[in-house]
């Protein structure tokens, strides 16, 4: 006990006498960012969000698509109303046995304050998509213009190898289509018809989902992914798929 006190006194002596509160807050914030932030099950160090999420040699600075569509979730805003899911079902005629987007719920009984949170998921439109690599007939592929992973239904043989390859459980077999179905960022029902966003984004009352162009420095998705103040992460980064759906809090 005495040793603790002595150590405390020593450490007090080493602290600079006057550190302005603002500087201290900034320092703590950087410390938090640099040392990592546990969120969504992924521990990542955020010296630079973009550098972490797109490793050297990937698409960090030059995004290969124009527009390079991406989505960022402000996860702590999600209230679990599932209007996004309903809107997706309605817009894309998703059958009751499948889903293109889902809102998962996590309970944390020991947490201080809020005891549960919601985590929306959908196809991550990966830059290094295992589903595209594994499809034997090129029935699923990345759109050369915007990088969205889409399906050519008539080529789908229904081997379901893309379903096991996907690290995000984002695919299911659609009986009516006779092919695998997945989120296409509403390319077919919205973007190809001149609309600028997705059905789930439009329906969200809490502005959880932000959809935009990662190749445009003026776009809000670009700004949120490339800033340093808030942690940004991706789901299951270890799967190496380089996803284009990001998550943040705060």
């Amino acid at each position: 006990m005495r040793r603790d006190t002595a150590a405390g006194e020593n450490s007090k002596q080493n602290v600079p006498e006057q550190v302005p509160d603002e500087q201290r807050r900034e320092f703590l914030k950087i410390g938090l960012i640099v040392t990592g932030f546990f969120a969504g099950g992924t521990l990542i160090s955020l010296v630079s969000n973009a550098r972490q999420l797109f490793p050297p040699g990937a698409f960090r600075q030059e995004y290969p698509y124009k527009p390079h569509y991406a989505m960022i979730m402000r996860q702590d805003r999600c209230i679990g109303c599932e209007r996004c899911v309903d809107a997706c079902v309605a817009a894309n005629h998703v059958p009751d046995y499948g889903w293109r987007t889902l809102v998962m719920e996590r309970e944390a009984p020991k947490a201080v304050g809020q005891k549960r949170e919601f985590i929306p998921i959908l196809c991550n439109q990966c830059n290094n998509p295992p589903c595209v690599r594994t499809c034997p007939t090129k029935a699923t592929f990345k759109d050369k213009t915007n990088g969205i992973i889409i399906m050519n239904d008539k080529k789908c043989i229904g081997c379901k190898s893309c379903m096991i390859a996907c690290p995000y459980n984002a695919r299911y077999y659609n009986e009516e289509k006779g092919a695998i179905d997945k989120c296409d960022f509403c390319l077919e029902v919205n973007l190809s018809k001149g609309k600028k966003t997705t059905a789930c984004v439009e329906a969200c009352p809490a502005d959880v989902r932000i959809f935009g162009d990662l190749s445009d420095p003026g776009d809000s998705v670009y700004k949120m992914v490339h800033q340093l103040q808030r942690p940004v992460w991706v789901m299951r980064e270890q799967a190496g798929a380089a996803p284009n759906v990001f998550y943040t809090k705060g």
Binding site: M104, I157, C159, Y173, G178, A179
Partner: protein, 413 residues
């Protein structure tokens, strides 16, 4: 050969098979018809979502594992038979023709089962050719096994014609395509970075080693059974072949044991998904199948039985082979299913994916699997009679001929 291929004579031999033989022919034919009907009903009438036990979370299950079972057996039969008629080891030669035919039969059985698993088999035939994806393991596997089937068919014909120069060359190409195919098959699972339990070079190598074990088991089982069906005694060269095959099986069982032990030890200290899968296999819902089938029936018991048999006690070897084949089937099932039981979002601790995924085969799936075995059994039984138990006409024996041919192969090489 041509006498054996005489259709009328072959037909007479089938008819003279006896009541037990006919009962099994009918049984296997019935299983085949019911299996195909069940598959067609599942895919084109009821819908696989209703008829098969697969789900979004476990989309590949017993039909794929059965396909792998047959494909691995086919590869093993090809490798083991090639030791004799391709690489010139005389002791293996008496089993060559039967093993090559069995290799063809087993890969066709596998194709039958996977054909009833894939949702759009007709599109597969078209777009595998018109729109190939050269980065896809599935595409390479299908292509290599198709090439393999053609090569093995050519090899078989020339083996029956005693043209060992041609059969040895096609056999060599067959082995190369086959080992490549089985390795690529392992890569379908091993190259999925998002599936921790499968990811890595393990399966690509393990399946090759396991194929040799399976091939040995099939040879022991079917050669001994064939002599029973044909009511012939096992002659000395065939007995010697069975002895070396059983010794090869013992050796490769040790190799597979090493693979299995290291796989499980690595899983035990892996990431959360690996550890979950490890627990499920060691002490969870897959423990019975793992300890009883994969370890005891698939490895330890046949190892002990074959070792004790010294390659000479036929009954003991037959029991070992039977237990092995039965157990390996369940080993393949678990290999496929266990890789999918851990939810991809388990680490998040979300309600939707809180526990392990479960899978139970449906009646349709079981019938399709039995259909595959029906085809395999039926083709084997008919093959034995059509090719007259692979005996040589005109009084000269297969092993004499193959031994002479071996010398010929050695001379030419």
């Amino acid at each position: 050969m041509w006498e054996a291929m005489d259709i009328k004579a072959a037909y007479r031999r089938v008819l003279s098979g006896g009541p037990v033989y006919h009962a099994f022919v009918l049984l296997f034919a019935l299983l085949l018809v019911v299996g195909i009907s069940a598959g067609i009903h599942a895919l084109f009438i009821a819908g696989s979502r209703h008829a098969y036990g697969t789900t979004r979370e476990i989309p590949l299950a017993i039909l794929i594992s059965t396909y792998i079972f047959f494909a691995v057996a086919s590869t093993g039969l090809c490798i083991v038979s090639s030791i004799g008629h391709v690489f010139g080891v005389r002791d293996f030669m008496p089993i060559a023709r039967r093993a090559v035919l069995l290799s063809i039969i087993t890969i066709l059985s596998g194709f039958l089962v996977i054909g009833l698993e894939i949702e759009n088999p007709f599109r597969m035939a078209v777009y595998n050719v018109l729109s190939p994806n050269l980065t896809s393991n599935i595409w390479w596997m299908g292509t290599l096994y198709s090439i393999f089937l053609i090569l093995m068919s050519i090899e078989f014909v020339f083996l029956m014609l005693h043209r060992h120069d041609v059969s040895a060359k096609t056999g060599l190409l067959g082995v190369i395509s086959d080992v490549a195919a089985i390795s690529v098959l392992g890569g379908i699972f091993g190259m999925l970075q998002g599936r921790e339990f499968w990811y890595g070079p393990y399966l690509q190598l393990y399946l090759v080693a396991s194929a040799v074990v399976t091939g040995c088991a099939f040879i022991l089982f079917f050669v001994i059974l064939a002599h029973r069906i044909n009511r012939t005694a096992i002659d000395a060269p065939t007995g010697r072949a069975l002895e070396v095959v059983s010794k090869l099986a013992v050796l490769m069982l040790v190799v597979v044991m090493f693979f299995t032990v290291w796989k499980m030890l690595t899983a035990a200290v892996g990431g959360p998904a690996n550890r979950e899968a490890f627990s499920a296999v060691i002490s969870g819902p897959f423990a019975f199948k793992f300890w009883v089938f994969e370890i005891t029936g698939g490895l330890v018991l046949p190892f002990v039985l074959l070792l004790l048999s010294g390659g000479k006690k036929i009954r003991q070897m037959f029991v070992a082979a039977t237990v092995m084949i039965f157990s390996i089937f369940f080993t393949r099932l678990d290999m496929v299913v266990v890789g999918q039981i851990v939810p991809l979002y388990l680490e998040l601790g979300v309600k939707e994916f809180a526990g392990l995924h479960t899978y139970t085969p449906s009646l349709h799936e079981i019938l399709v699997v039995l259909g595959g075995f029906g085809f395999c059994g039926l083709a084997f039984l008919l093959g034995e009679k059509i090719f007259d138990g692979f005996q040589e006409p005109h009084g000269h024996r297969e092993d004499d001929e193959t031994a002479t041919d071996a010398v010929r192969v050695e001379e030419t090489s």
